[in-house]
Symmetry: C2
Subunit: 301 residues, 2 copies
């Protein structure tokens, strides 16, 4: 069997981002942490941590961390069936870390209530990473997370994938903005002048919507604003146009603070829930909470 | 004088994160971009870009990008006083990129409306980076941004610093959560059992609040949830306790969905606006919008 004391130290360093913080969490000295990692690296025969601010795991290190998370999930199942198995140093039933990745718009709309309600009653410590839906699958592939909301249908190695439905986006801006930039229509000539809003450099929704509308690539002037609610608020005061989750701008469309650029041109982004295959009732519980919420809020195709 | 055509190419690569996307923005071939960067690196005598996914700037590269941003701001001033100076390839007055950094809670509350209203009328393209208030000063120091909301009072090199007032945080949770975990009081023994919410691994607010309350360090069980609105929503459904901006939980406190853990124990975080020193009316305009909004919403000490 592997040396799980050392693997737990590795997991703590990656989670905390530094040897010092990991040492504090584990109630040992930083040099003890450092020695554990060094011996583990000698045993594995390769680097596991890239020392820096913060410390990050190598590919192999990430794979080992995922393994530790999965073993912890299994230990939780064991504790439930054999309660006396709990190690003597634990006074209370321990909570299991559950690292997941989700796209910002899902988190800002349907995902947060479902996940929070699950976590309020389950013995877990959620560790939520936020990334673009086209990139969350990468977190699964590298073993950084155990489950993810992603635009990728194809199951990552060792994972199950299931459809959640589609998130509907509408291209919208304030009426004053549309009057100023799109009086002569929404086309390549006007789009090249009108500032767009993008969430970050990975956000391709605006470009995709424009390519579908104009049948060619248009280089858009861009404001970058990586916060879901601020993104909608910025559009409402006329900073730019952008693709917004329909669920977040219903009220704005009703009261006229936001208007669709071109009616009936929604962009539907299919989303999938991928989770590491493992006999874990905790992960299954989260999956039920997530798929239930998705089926009542996302567009079922 | 420096070769500003090449410097603009460098700036595009750093902003876009890849040679291909930079080439598309500049309407040239990727190999032309690559050659420009190589010649610039030979001229400077050192690496400017760390090639990767995405490409990021070296220290020297960042310093040069900041310089380009500042020269663009100066060109904008020049264009205003000598309109005919505009280069012939531009049909419309160009927009100036304005990279800034701000903490997530400011962006979610007072900052977004002020910044968006400014950007709706000024000829700028905002590029907003979000980081912890203890780390935004680093973005200024490395020259990645021209201005930042930060907890650091000390002006970064080449920057002016001015006080914005303090953001008031309250430790709060749902009444059911408090009943479950804190029936016997909020102390080291109960805090070690009750899951806390942290924004990310840089978020030290919860730890600071506990240290002040208990007069010692307590290792808190933590959920990690890096989204300002989801953070409040998670607390309201009983996922954990956390430090929330008072402005974001006023309604929750009034209707009883969130309750303070210990009354009258606010944590006030002083914030500062730091901006690169430069004779730029655009940066001055943003500074006015930001300081006005802060003076009417933050706690003036």
């Amino acid at each position: 069997m592997l040396d799980y004391t050392s693997l737990a130290v590795l997991s703590a360093v990656v989670r905390e981002g530094s040897f010092e913080r990991a040492a504090r969490t584990l109630h040992v000295t930083p040099s003890a942490v450092s020695q554990r990692i060094r011996l583990l690296e000698e045993f594995i025969g390769g680097a596991l941590i890239i020392r820096g601010q913060p410390c990050i795991a190598t590919e192999t290190g990430r794979r080992l961390c995922q393994h530790v998370d999965q073993v912890r999930l299994l230990e939780y199942e064991l504790q439930k069936s054999v309660p006396t198995v709990m190690s003597s140093d634990q006074e209370a039933p321990s909570r299991v870390p559950l690292p997941i990745a989700v796209n910002a718009d899902s988190l800002a709309t349907w995902f947060a209530p479902a996940m929070s309600a699950f976590a309020a009653t389950a013995p877990v410590l959620m560790d939520v990473a936020v990334d673009d839906q086209d990139h969350t699958a990468e977190w699964l592939r590298t073993g950084t997370v155990l489950a993810a909301v992603t635009s990728s249908a194809q199951a990552a190695s060792g994972c199950n994938s299931r459809s959640l439905g589609a998130m509907r986006y509408l291209a919208a801006a304030s009426p004053e903005f549309i009057e100023r930039y799109f009086r002569k229509g929404v086309n390549a000539a006007s789009l090249v002048q009108a500032p767009s809003l993008v969430f970050n450099s990975k956000d391709e929704l605006q470009t995709r919507w424009v390519r579908r509308l104009c049948h060619r690539h248009v280089e858009l002037p861009r404001h970058t604003l990586p916060a879901a609610h601020a993104f909608v608020a910025a559009a409402a005061v006329g900073m730019g146009w952008g693709l917004h989750p329909q669920a977040m701008i219903q009220d704005h469309l009703r009261n006229g603070t936001l208007v669709e650029l071109v009616p009936d041109t929604p962009l539907d982004v299919p989303l999938y829930w991928q989770q590491a295959r493992s006999a874990s009732s905790l992960l299954d519980g989260l999956t039920r909470a997530v798929t239930n919420a998705a089926s009542s809020t996302l567009l079922q195709l």
